[in-house]
């Protein structure tokens, strides 16, 4: 970069880009604020911890929800209606019925499973199936496995199909293996509504706690604020350190929340896996990846900024030099 000349150097320096000065100033304020907070590590930590703990529940819930929704969206390929045939229906009749069904509208495929074959598969899959050898005859019924095509997306539609198929002659009963999906959907809906309530309330807690902390800080630095205003500081200049303070608390709270959430996920995942396994699902909560960590930090810093902005907005007008 070319300096104009040594003599005019001073003058050009004074006229240095306002933007550069502005950025420098912001950087300096952020640094000063950080240092001031680190000088009182315990107070800072406790404020951050309150925010962190308050953030954990909404984060966990939203993680759970987004993963449940993923489960909801993927179930449809596996929807299957099991038609249990009456005992007096022969294998031949069953095969014919299966063929007829497969030609019907909305049915992708239909497969007849002979009870003899079912027994072999059953024995192959479960150890205790040897117990079946003690029975005189095969207790398993002939079944037809019906898969609806993709036009059926919701549990309700598939259920209607199940009702219709139950009325076919020779069908004893019909099982729809998606009751758990149905339950999951209603649980998800409850959680979704609950999430917003919890987010609202805990957001309020963070705002109140931070607002109070910032208010005390403003109170403590009242003289400084007055002096600054007397020598020509704008509102923006005076409130800047407090906004940085809020953002800093928000960031600290976000980091603490991150660690807490990771810990909770590790602890909870074992029972969650066991529960999911009982529903033939390998569902589990993933630990927070880079994207969700980033979102967490942006939200927590934003919340910090907003809270301190509110506090500053409310208390600054009361401080005027007299």
């Amino acid at each position: 970069m070319a300096e104009p000349s040594k003599h005019t150097g001073a003058r050009t320096a004074i006229q240095a880009s306002p933007l550069t000065n502005f950025v420098n100033h912001h950087f300096k304020v952020a640094k000063t604020t950080l240092r001031a907070q680190l000088n009182a590590p315990f107070a800072t930590f406790f404020t951050c911890a309150v925010i962190g703990v308050a953030l954990v529940l909404p984060i966990l819930l939203s993680l759970l929800l987004s993963n449940l929704q993923a489960v909801n969206q993927h179930w449809d390929g596996s929807a299957q209606i099991t038609l249990v045939l009456k005992q007096d229906v022969t294998a031949l009749q069953g095969g014919v019925l299966s063929d007829t069904l497969s030609k019907k509208e909305h049915i992708k495929s239909s497969e007849f499973v002979d009870k003899g074959r079912a027994l072999i598969e059953f024995k192959a899959r479960f150890k205790f199936a040897d117990a079946l050898d003690f029975l005189d005859e095969n207790p398993l019924p002939n079944v037809i496995l019906v898969r609806p095509d993709k036009s059926f997306k919701t549990v309700e539609e598939v259920s209607t199909l199940k009702e219709i198929l139950m009325r076919e002659s020779g069908v004893e009963s019909a099982l729809l293996d998606v009751v758990w999906v149905q339950r999951l959907q209603s649980i998800t809906q409850v959680l979704q509504k609950g999430l917003w309530i919890i987010v609202g309330m805990l957001g309020l807690i963070v705002t109140l706690v931070l607002g109070n902390t910032i208010r005390l800080a403003i109170e403590n630095r009242k003289d400084e604020i007055v002096v600054m205003k007397l020598v020509g500081a704008t509102h923006a200049f005076v409130r800047r350190p407090f906004l940085y303070m809020g953002m800093l608390f928000g960031f600290g709270g976000g980091v603490i929340a991150w660690f807490l959430v990771q810990g909770v996920i590790v602890i909870l995942n074992q029972p969650i896996r066991e529960l999911a396994h009982s529903y033939q699902s390998d569902f589990s909560l993933p630990v927070m990846d880079f994207g969700s960590t980033l979102i967490l930090l942006i939200i927590s810093v934003g919340l910090g900024w907003f809270s301190s902005w509110l506090a500053v907005h409310k208390h600054f007008d009361e401080i005027e030099p007299t």
Binding site: A13, I14, P18, T20, F22, E224, V227, K229, G232
Partner: protein, 205 residues
């Protein structure tokens, strides 16, 4: 350079506050540097104040910062580059004779020195107007005279200086215009010599 005198409650401080927009006038116009103060919107007040240096009786320094940082405050506020701030602050401290104490905190200074830090802060921006409210209120006569000389020096280089003071003996020694207020009214302008009458009246204190 003028002095503003009058009993306490006469309106000296109020006049200074009006000039630096700590108070707004309810009626009439105040014109400073061809600018009607009643027309300055609230948001513009900070920018106006950057052209008015103010010295307070109780110094109003920030005690958790060094002398240097105290004096640098107005420059920082106006967004000056740190390198230029250093130069200007040292020049200003040099003028008030405190160059070697820039690293101390105001607490470590005497009353007179603290007041000089206040003056350095008021002039570091090179404002065309310098106001002082009882700048020698807490100082002994010798220090007071020194401070007044400092103000006179700034006046010499073209700064308009207005000092509110009830230190009549001191004012008397200096040959500057004296504006006397009583109950918010301008009593009359008098030179220091004419002010003799006031002393003879002997009704102050």
């Amino acid at each position: 350079m003028s002095f503003l005198t009058g009993h306490s409650g006469a309106g000296k401080s109020t006049l200074l506050k009006l000039i630096m927009l700590m108070e707004r006038s309810t009626q009439g116009n105040i014109i400073v540097g061809e600018q009607d103060l009643s027309r300055i919107p609230k948001r513009q007040i900070p920018y106006f104040r950057r052209h008015v240096g103010v010295v307070f009786q109780n110094h109003r320094l920030l005690y958790d910062r060094s002398v240097f940082d105290n004096v640098a405050l107005p420059l920082e506020i106006s967004g000056m580059h740190p390198r230029d701030i250093g130069r200007r602050v040292r020049a200003s401290l040099d003028k008030v004779g405190l160059l070697r104490k820039e690293k101390l905190t105001p607490i470590q200074l005497s009353g007179g020195e603290q007041q000089r830090v206040g003056i350095a802060r008021a002039v570091v921006n090179k404002p065309p107007i310098l106001l002082a409210d009882e700048p020698t209120g807490n100082l002994d006569p010798e220090l007071s005279a020194e401070i007044m000389k400092l103000f006179a020096a700034f006046n010499q280089v073209g700064v308009t200086v207005l000092i509110a003071s009830h230190d009549l003996a001191l004012i008397h020694h200096m040959d500057y215009r004296v504006i006397e207020l009583q109950a918010g009214q301008l009593l009359g302008k008098s030179s220091a010599t004419m002010d003799q009458k006031y002393f003879e009246g002997g009704d102050h204190g």
